[in-house]
């Protein structure tokens, strides 16, 4: 996993609540057996018209937002299925940080497993960022995990809270499995106690 220390990039305003993982990556694209290559199918049903042409109405297709790497969205982002294909698709497209007032549980965990930082900001801060990103296509944001700050070049600055363990793993690109395997003795001890019951 790639470490995440800080990141600056174009912000995409996706001003919708309850964006579900079926929307992030529709199920017809879940049949690949790799982790990569999902980016072109990200938000597929919203992003493309029935003819296969890009839907000019969809935020990501509007001028100035192509290549965005920070996504700003409404509450409960990532609800629905446990499919890790959702963060894979976001990452493969190039998103490194997501900002919303709240995220669905499983999706939130899945992001950390893939080097994507989901940032929870207050409803009013998210509204402010959405307004700025909508008003200025190409609007740039910076997300700093070391200092736990989101800021732009126009004076916006907000701090966020993040689980210290997750922060540590992300800052150093640490893999959970490797860490857990170091606790092998404890796992074995647990198994012995249980099997002797």
């Amino acid at each position: 996993m790639d470490p995440f220390v800080k990141h600056a990039g174009t912000a995409l305003p996706l001003d919708r609540v309850n964006v579900d993982t079926d929307q992030i990556i529709p199920k017809q694209f879940l049949k690949r057996v790799e982790r990569t290559g999902f980016g072109e199918f990200l938000f597929f049903d919203w992003r493309y018209l029935d003819s296969g042409q890009p839907n000019p109405e969809f935020e990501l297709n509007r001028p100035g937002y192509a290549g965005a790497s920070i996504l700003i969205a409404g509450r409960n982002f990532g609800c629905g299925s446990s499919r890790e294909h959702a963060p894979w698709a976001l990452l493969d497209y190039g998103f490194r940080a997501l900002i919303a007032p709240s995220f669905a549980d499983i999706f939130f965990n899945n992001c950390f497993q893939n080097g994507i930082l989901p940032v929870i900001l207050h409803e009013s801060e998210v509204a402010e960022l959405l307004a700025r990103a909508k008003a200025q296509p190409g609007y740039r944001l910076g997300v700093d995990l070391d200092r736990c700050v989101v800021e732009d070049e126009q004076g916006f600055s907000a701090t966020f809270a993040v689980d210290p363990f997750r922060r540590h793993c992300l800052l150093h690109g640490l893999d959970d499995i490797g860490l857990t395997l170091q606790r092998e003795e404890k796992i074995r001890a647990y198994e012995q106690v249980v099997s002797s019951r």
């Binding site: 919708r16 609540v17 309850n18 579900d20 079926d22 929307q23 529709p26 199920k27 017809q28 879940l30 049949k31 690949r32 057996v33 790799e34 982790r35 049903d45 029935d50 409404g74 509450r75 409960n76 609800c79 629905g80 299925s81 446990s82 499919r83 890790e84 963060p87 709240s102 669905a104 549980d105 499983i106 965990n109 899945n110 497993q113 893939n114 689980d163 210290p164 363990f165 959970d176 499995i177 857990t180 395997l181 606790r183 404890k186 796992i187 647990y190 198994e191 249980v194």
Partner: protein, 464 residues
């Protein structure tokens, strides 16, 4: 009950870090596992406990008679990859030819692998189903699947707990599905985010195991980490004699342990939600998430009446997608398709409820109805009772077991614009096929809609 199970499975806990929790049963299916096995192979790691791991093919398998050939080459590849992985890593697999095959959340209980007090995970959000037995069961992502395969443990922050108490008696014609839809309608699709929910109260106790599974299954649709019901005599009776449940003297000993799990009166929860069962009516969703729901006697709501700006826009989008006008009576909404099945409502009792409505009636000529048992075991038992004949005589299709039209990853999908009364759990945009419009209902409501061609109040149908 949650605390007891949690404490009993703590392998390690260090301040500031998530707990390391031991997993008793890991269920694996074809869609979310390939990349996890790949990860193991790359790192040269074995599966730590193949004996606590069980795999099944369910999500993208065809459900037509005979099943083969699988013409979708990518789906076929996923299925073959699972078979190869199971062989390589020594995991028991219930494949397409197994008489025990079925939806992962149906076969766990079918087999008696799902038991009170266990920790159960699966790379599927509806793993919460197994909580109906008083197990702590939740969905995980593929990286976590790999973590559990390699270590049999999972890193977890201790969730908060919520009690959802449903008191009173369920009126005639109101099912477990209506209870959970009403709960989600009340608290919203993120109302339980970060919580493990324990369902209590007279109405929950009076539900069968199937009904409890329906309720726990959809806990995730309210954002919950897991849903649970304390085990009782019904739980034990359901498990007794199942192939993987303890047998004989062992069973008695197990029951004694399970009985101790049940919630102590006055257990403390972080939050309480209460619902009066006797006031409930059958529910129908009108929008594109399960919280957008009204009683069958209601009308499509007006977005203008929504409490917040964001909700108003979400409702407008939903109505546009669903092709509905505010103020339309739900019972005036016509449907094209009916799907009875899924891990929410694909068990024997669900099929019985649907058959009771269809018996002696005909599926409306403009409707195509699909009935898909949740597992081959459910299918056999339904056929032994003659339910397949009831469905066929009514003009519905009777299929092999699988997820089928719940998620449209297999040949069973809606066409754009088609409207479906479905017993599944998600009405998201495009869930059952691009442009398809899903209304979530109970099995008897789905069967009633099939015969009428539009939504009807099942309490009136079954009365006469």
């Amino acid at each position: 009950m949650f605390e007891r199970i949690w404490e009993a499975h703590l392998v390690d806990e260090e301040p500031g870090q998530p707990a390391l929790l031991y997993i008793d049963l890991h269920l694996v299916h074809e869609v979310t596992s390939a990349q996890a096995f790949d990860g193991l192979r790359l790192a040269g790691r074995p599966v730590r406990r193949p004996d606590l791991t069980l795999a099944v093919m369910d999500h993208n398998v065809p459900t037509w008679a005979g099943r083969l050939p699988i013409t979708d080459t990518i789906a076929l590849k996923q299925i073959q990859v699972l078979a190869r992985n199971c062989e390589e890593f020594g995991i028991t697999l219930y494949d397409l030819h197994s008489p025990r095959q079925g939806i992962v959340h149906v076969i766990g209980p079918d087999l008696g692998r799902t038991q009170p007090g266990l920790t159960i995970v699966c790379g599927d959000s509806h793993t919460s189903t197994h909580g109906a037995f008083g197990a702590l069961a939740f969905g995980i992502g593929t990286s976590e699947v790999e973590h559990v395969l390699a270590t049999q443990c999972l890193l977890q922050r201790r969730p908060r707990t919520m009690e959802i108490r449903v008191d009173g008696q369920l009126p005639y014609g109101v099912a477990a599905k209506d209870v959970i839809l009403a709960i989600i309608g009340k608290i919203g699709t993120d109302g339980a985010t970060g919580y493990v929910v324990e369902y209590t109260g007279e109405a929950i106790r009076s539900l069968s195991m199937e009904g409890r599974m329906t309720v726990c299954n959809m806990s995730i649709e309210a954002g919950a980490r897991a849903g649970m019901v304390a085990p009782d005599a019904k739980t034990f009776a359901y498990l007794e004699g199942r192939p993987h449940a303890p047998q004989g003297r062992d069973f008695e000993r197990a029951v004694a342990g399970w009985e101790r799990l049940a919630t102590d009166a006055g257990a403390a929860y972080d939050r309480l939600v209460e619902l009066d069962a006797s006031a409930l009516a059958p529910q129908v969703t009108w929008g594109t998430n399960p919280g957008m729901v009204v009683p069958v006697t209601g009308r499509v709501p007006d977005p203008a009446a929504m409490p917040t700006e964001a909700d108003r826009r979400a409702a407008e989008r939903a109505l546009e997608y669903m092709g509905l006008t505010p103020g339309t009576a739900i019972q005036d909404v016509r449907i094209d398709r009916v799907f009875i099945g899924s891990c929410t409502n694909g068990r024997l009792e669900d099929l019985r409820a649907a058959a009771a409505v269809m018996r002696g009636r005909q599926v409306h000529p403009s409707v195509r109805a699909l009935v898909v048992p949740g597992s081959q075991e459910v299918k056999r038992r339904a056929e032994a009772e003659g339910l397949d004949t009831v469905f066929r005589e009514a003009g519905a299709e009777w299929r092999e077991a699988g997820c089928s039209m719940c998620l449209g990853m297999n040949p069973d999908i809606l066409q754009p614009g088609e409207r479906c009364a479905s017993t599944s759990n998600r009405n998201f945009e495009g869930r059952q096929g691009k442009g398809g419009r899903t209304h979530l209902v109970s099995p008897s409501m789905a069967a009633a809609a099939a015969t009428a061609g539009h939504f009807v109040d099942v309490r009136r149908i079954t009365d006469d």
